[in-house]
Amino acid sequence: MANRPLSPHLQIWRWGPAMFVSILHRITGNGLALVGLFVLLWWLGALASGPEYYATFQGLMNSPLGYVVLVGLSWAFFTHLMSGLRHFVLDIGAGYELDRNRLWSILSPVLAILLTAAFWAAIKLL
């Protein structure tokens, strides 16, 4: 790499909600791609391997660490979903007014936490 001056990175900007939700979108996307798809394949592989191995998989996922992984993945899923929907709106050229952009940058991750809680309540109650 040529030793040229680089454009300013994270440390120079004042933090704001739009910056936060953009970084969150990338982090949760990476988490879903690397951990989420792995757990999806593990689940399908356990099913395809038969009842004994599926019981092992269920035992691991019902452990405290299993719950940390599954609740974390569901949070990452709803967070990426909400910020992804925000990107769809931005893609059509809407939602760039400063106050509206700020509002949805805050609401997206908050709605994702509520959806995560609602999802687990529905799983446990229904």
Binding site: A33, L37, L44, A48, Y54, A122, L126
Partner: protein
């Protein structure tokens, strides 16, 4: 190779070497992910339990098996596109970038193939 039109002479020469195709595919697969993941979330909630009998009988049916197969294709495709952008953003050495994208392609195709094989095995009743 583009001796004729002005667009033909410059196509592929920008720093990214290609235009909106990757960006559009990311959106198309995102819409697929949206529909298919909503199906999976609702299905997980509505299934009476998540034990072996219930889940294996459910996923063997034609519609759930098809939806799961589509979900695997759409999510692995979307993940491959997204991780490619992350690699391009953070891996600056050309050789390392090439190697990382080769590895990403291998893992993405292998993962999707494994998932599709598991669904086929469950749906076609090898158990």
């Amino acid at each position: 190779m583009g001796n004729g039109t002005s667009i033909g002479r410059v196509r592929g020469l920008g720093s990214a070497h290609s235009g909106a195709h990757h960006w559009l595919l990311q959106r198309f697969t995102a819409v697929g992910n949206l529909l298919l993941s909503m199906w999976l979330v609702v299905s997980l909630i509505l299934l009476p339990d998540l034990g072996y009998e219930t889940v294996s009988q459910w996923i063997a049916k034609p519609l759930p098996a098809t939806a799961m197969a589509l979900l695997i294709v759409s999510t692995f495709w979307h993940a491959r596109l997204g991780l490619q952008v992350v690699i391009e953003d953070y891996v600056h050495d050309a050789g390392n970038k090439f190697a990382a994208i080769v590895a990403l392609n291998l893992v993405a195709f292998a993962g999707a193939a494994f998932g599709l094989f598991c669904v086929a095995r469950l749906a076609l009743g090898a158990n």
